[in-house]
């Protein structure tokens, strides 16, 4: 069956540009998470959606980061005025449960490089 998909897989942006990263979770999954993974590090939590509600955005590094999931399925992570420190792999994960018990299914990630 289809897993979590993300697009684009790779994105190169010039400093100051805006980018939008898309996540298609597994159909029917209630929970959707965004993570940022720097090279050689574990995923760092950014934000969490339960259906269309953004219940936690405590991990977003600055107000340049914005995420939405308007219909409770596809989600978009937007980064405005990108900076070099934003360069990382952005991972999306979905889960069939509404709490932190249970498997998270990760997508392949979007590798963002800001030049």
């Amino acid at each position: 069956g289809a897993g979590v998909s993300q697009s684009p897989r790779y994105k190169v942006a010039k400093r100051g540009q805006d980018v939008a990263l898309r996540c298609d979770p597994i159909s029917g999954h209630v929970s959707l998470f965004w993570y940022q993974q720097a090279l050689g590090q574990g995923p760092e939590f950014l934000t969490y959606f339960q259906n269309e509600a953004q219940l936690d955005k405590s991990g977003l590094p600055s107000d340049r980061f914005f995420a939405e999931r308007p219909e409770g399925s596809v989600s978009t992570l937007k980064i405005q005025r990108t900076q070099q420190e934003d360069s990382a792999v952005y991972l999306c994960a979905s889960s069939s449960t509404g709490r932190l018990y249970g498997e998270q299914y990760f997508g392949p990630g979007t590798r963002l490089t800001v030049t």
Partner: protein
């Protein structure tokens, strides 16, 4: 804030040798999850442990959750080249009132010499 620490950071073994990675949390965890990430890949869920002292096995992999629910380990018996990758532990964090944040350790990168 809550920290999840893993040791060692790197481990290189000969094929057939055993491997263990350790995970420690600064606070008690309600559950702990383990993920494997192959080079260039994404994290893949391995297992979740919930009960104090729990031990679970998956073929050559043995997972343990400490009695105090603050530490965990993953042991691989007789490693194979297919075991190569980074192994992460992750536990729920409730810092700042969040019930949804999964805190990952930095991972242990396992390389296997055939």
């Amino acid at each position: 804030g809550q920290q999840v620490m893993q040791i060692p950071q790197y481990q290189h073994v000969q094929e057939g040798e055993d491997f263990t990675t350790y995970c420690n949390s600064s606070t008690t965890l309600s559950n702990i999850q383990w993920y494997k990430q192959r080079p260039g890949g994404h994290p893949v869920f391995l297992i979740q442990l919930v009960k104090s002292g729990e031990v679970k096995k998956q073929k050559r992999l043995t997972f343990q959750f400490g009695e105090a629910k603050k530490n965990s380990s993953l042991h691989i018996t007789a490693t194979q080249t297919t075991d190569v990758g980074t192994y992460f532990c992750a536990g729920p964090t409730n810092s700042g009132g969040s019930n949804y944040k999964l805190t990952f350790g930095k991972g242990t990168l396992l390389t296997v010499n055939p």
